[in-house]
């Protein structure tokens, strides 16, 4: 499926309609079919698309077409502005604790990139703030999950707290935090096992970890290729844990990444960073305007 540029599509759809002047209801209805298709092709959740179109209709109806634009361009500008606004206008940052350590906890579905992102965040904090982080291996289920984090720690020359026989994750985290206190680490980043948001015992485990760690940041790690379920997943994690932000991974691929909009719409929580590759240096600040253009295929 070749994604035709939305901008071209809307232009084409509106070609035979009004010239300059006000945007008419007919213009909007014609354009909104194209907008709807583009957003669905980009994997924005169906219900989020519906709401978004409603908003656009209200915003655009009766609006004067600016001198320099034709009606098609004017509609596109409104869509792009609205989408950027929804993505969160300015770049969000991590919460920092008044007293060390600042605690960060990663959560998310299986295979989204949590463990890798623990390493990426540690590297970023070291490079930017000369931080001295401690990583805690809170995934006791996935085969070799602890090895994976330990190898990442080794690559960065960062300590990793792990216990190979303890079955209570909250306990491991508690002990890890003690070590961080003793060693005056200024950041603690907790890796957790991937889980489904509908998995009751494992969601309870995260609540326990949250209780003992009192994290300043709970980051939901989301795969940018996620489809329609992004809203359920985000709602599921947010309602249990009150997440503080989102990291969108695997944006180095060719996915349009509509999950970003879905998550923003249902949680209102900011996307803070994006994963741009498998290397530990491949973490970038999130740019709402770029994400808006990407989702629109422009």
């Amino acid at each position: 499926m070749a994604f035709e540029n939305l901008s071209e599509r809307i232009q084409k759809a509106l070609r035979n309609l009004t010239g300059k002047g006000k945007i008419s209801e007919e213009d909007i209805n014609t354009a909104s079919r194209e907008i709807r298709l583009a957003l669905l092709e980009a994997d924005v959740n169906f219900k989020v698309v519906k709401d978004f179109i409603k908003k656009i209709k209200k915003e655009a109806l009766g609006k004067e077409v600016q001198e320099s634009l034709n009606p098609g361009q004017q509609v596109i500008k409104i869509v792009n502005d609205e989408l950027t606004k929804m993505m969160g206008e300015s770049a969000a940052t991590l919460n920092k604790s008044k007293h060390i350590p600042t605690i960060i906890m990663m959560v998310g579905l299986q295979g989204t990139g949590k463990t890798t992102t623990v390493g990426k965040l540690a590297k970023r904090l070291i490079d930017k703030d000369k931080a001295r982080p401690l990583l805690i291996a809170g995934d006791i289920y996935r085969p070799a999950a602890i090895d994976q984090l330990e190898q990442i720690g080794e690559q960065l020359n960062v300590p990793v707290y792990s216990e190979h026989d303890e079955k209570n994750v909250a306990k491991i985290v508690e002990n890890g935090l003690k070590q961080a206190d003793d060693n005056k680490n200024d950041y603690v980043i907790i890796d957790t096992a991937g889980r489904l948001e509908i998995d009751e015992p494992l969601m309870e485990e995260l609540e326990q970890v949250k209780k003992v760690a009192q994290p300043d940041n709970i980051l939901l790690v989301v795969d940018a290729m996620t489809g329609q379920a992004a809203t359920d997943v985000a709602k599921g994690f947010d309602s249990r844990l009150d997440i503080t932000g989102v990291i969108l991974t695997k944006l180095d691929g060719d996915t349009r990444g509509g999950a970003a909009l879905s998550i923003r719409a249902v949680t209102g929580k900011p996307i803070i960073y994006t994963g741009q590759g498998e290397k530990l240096s491949d973490l970038e600040q999130f740019h709402p305007d770029r994400m808006a253009s990407r989702i629109l295929g422009m």
Partner: protein, 285 residues
């Protein structure tokens, strides 16, 4: 969505449901039209009638779009090793699926060997080795950061020499738009063919069930690189339906051969189109 009568509202709900299952807009529209026509043709009136009709029709459409000889996992029992190559994007479930399938073959009394050809990701070799221990199957490994093709070469040699029934090759996750990583996969396939020209028997693309429309691009690009024989759809125990496989089926005729239903060794099943259709429409009828 609520069942009302067999009217337009119902089929609007059906189309919405298909879109929300990641089937994609175009395919959802096509399927809805076909299912609406069929329901009219069959004069389906009650809720049960309708359910039967749309499930049967979906299965019929699925079957029509494929090649009956290539619906199930293939294997030959001529004493030569069946080599299965697993490919896919990062985190889709390749390594886990290999562990599960190894257990299945082992339980059937077959001899199985695993090749740890993901020499790139931290902990990847250890992960497969751990699966090997769990299901009691040997794993061929190379040095860290070794050329993955060299591991595959060693594993193929060993599998052939030992007359193993199956060799399951794990590869590193890679996004389909990365040219150099995709050519590494080509090299792995060439390496297998050097010693076993008719292999791999199966080249399976592992797809995360929660993936949206990008899965179509994955299927096309991986198929271009190493001709695919089928799909594995993982993580169907979650809230996703993996509907994009219907779009892939429509466009590329590729069958889903296995589904992943959890993280345990036993959480693997053959794909069954009827079961799948029933699951898809579960909330509607």
């Amino acid at each position: 969505a609520q069942f009302r009568t067999v009217d337009e509202d119902f089929f609007d709900d059906l189309e919405e449901l298909l879109i929300e299952s990641d089937v994609g807009y175009e395919t959802a529209e096509q399927l809805t039209t076909a299912l609406r026509d069929e329901a009219k043709l069959q004069k389906a009136k009650s809720r049960d009638d309708l359910k039967k009709v749309i499930v049967e029709k979906l299965v019929e459409l699925y079957d029509q779009n494929g090649d009956a000889a290539n619906e199930k996992l293939r294997s030959h029992d001529d004493g030569k090793t069946n080599i299965y190559l697993f490919v896919g994007v990062n985190g889709a479930g390749k390594t886990t699926t290999i562990g599960k399938l190894a257990k299945r073959f082992k339980d059937e009394g077959k001899s199985v060997l695993l090749a740890a050809a993901d020499t790139f990701r931290a902990g990847a070799v250890e992960q497969l080795v751990e699966w090997g221990k769990r299901v009691d199957v040997p794993v061929v490994t190379g040095k860290e950061q070794a050329d993955p093709a060299s591991v595959v070469f060693d594993a193929t040699t060993k599998a052939i020499a030992e007359h193993a029934d199956y060799l399951l090759v794990d590869t590193a996750g890679r996004l389909q738009n990365k040219k150099n990583l995709m050519s590494e996969l080509e090299k792995i396939e060439r390496t297998i063919k050097k010693q076993a020209p008719d292999e791999p028997t199966e080249t399976l693309l592992v797809l995360d069930g929660s993936t949206g429309q990008n899965a179509l691009l994955q299927a096309k690009d991986f198929d271009k690189t190493t001709k695919l024989t089928g799909l594995v759809l993982t993580k169907l125990d979650g809230s996703s339906k993996g509907g994009v496989v219907l779009a892939i089926r429509n466009e590329m005729k590729l069958p889903v051969k296995l589904v992943g239903l959890g993280e345990k060794a036993s959480d693997l099943a053959d794909f069954d189109a009827a079961d799948y259709a029933v699951g898809l429409f579960h909330d509607l009828v």
